[in-house]
Subunit: 139 residues, 3 copies
């Protein structure tokens, strides 16, 4: 069994964004030389997500508005978590909806994807350096 | 390390449905000959889910009504995504709540499940052929 | 390839709670002797979650209030599932938001975590013995 590990770093200027990371993950897979196995891609921070969906800008704005409705940022005083001095209580909730991680099959040396699947980093509390982990195991 | 791959195809007549796929996934596991490892089962489409819960028809109707409340199909004009000509903006949101994939342990050649765990395909934008992926790695 | 399996049991006195299980999972990893691979930690019951987030009591109360808003326990008659004689319809919904499972990378014999990541058992229908599964594969 082979294994491969890499961290990918981000520094999103605003509070929230969705970034397509499919090419970077494919680059990791190529580097690993693994042809059959599983890839785990996970946020290493607890106010960010990794998820798979469509690379369509209207949809991303729909996600942003929907998450803001389900877990609004303002007023920050509505979250007990923010009594610690943070203002990111909403980001911890949004991340649970969108998920921490994806696991993707590796078949024939490729990400084994359906026609529209793309991997995204979802940032809900940006403005600083944060990272995700790519771990691949297989042969 | 052994690996196994199979696609399962669906063509749901209506817009939404939950289909129990536990037997098909168990069939894949038997075919694979793998006794210890992990199974990944994921939707290959971005308006569908694979999830684990109870095979109880009342619960499935509860899920449907709840998802419709959290991310209503109508009016379709409420989703920017639908400006692309689609009417499935809601389906992309519902799928995030229910999840893309499950990872299940394989122990002694069986799905390592608690007493009520069953695997479901969740369709949120049916009426056409769609598929899921079963990938198994182990020994 | 090595594999390791262990069940962790819980008996939460009230209806809902979040329990930090990071130390128990780390203990499993140590027992397994696996240095590179993947850990799957999943609820074996369908009204409970395993998730990764922050060990901060204010945040946990925020989660509880938020889940109660998205899928209220009362009135129990609002859920068709409860016509089976159960009163836990809400717990099946809450568990979908928080997730069934996490997959964590194992690197150099350790849980490959970011600075604040901790693993939690989320109970939404307590008052009886329930369990989670820890499955590790790797080398």
């Amino acid at each position: 069994m082979k294994s491969y590990r890499k961290e990918l770093w981000f520094n999103i200027p605003g509070r929230r964004a969705f970034i397509n990371i499919t090419d970077e993950v494919e680059g990791c897979l190529k580097d690993s030389g693994i042809r059959e196995g599983l890839i785990l891609v996970n946020a290493m921070h607890i106010t960010a997500s990794v998820f798979i969906n469509d690379d369509e800008s209207g949809l991303h704005r729909d996600y942003d508005q929907w998450l803001e409705k389900l877990a609004p940022h303002e007023p920050v005083s509505q979250y007990l978590h923010n009594r610690t001095g943070e203002d990111n209580g909403d980001a911890h909730l949004k991340r649970q909806i969108m998920g921490r991680e994806v696991v993707v099959a590796v078949s024939g040396g490729k990400l084994d994807f359906g026609p529209w699947e793309q991997i995204f980093y979802g940032e809900f509390d940006g403005g600083r350096k944060k990272r995700i982990l790519v771990k691949i195991i297989g042969e």
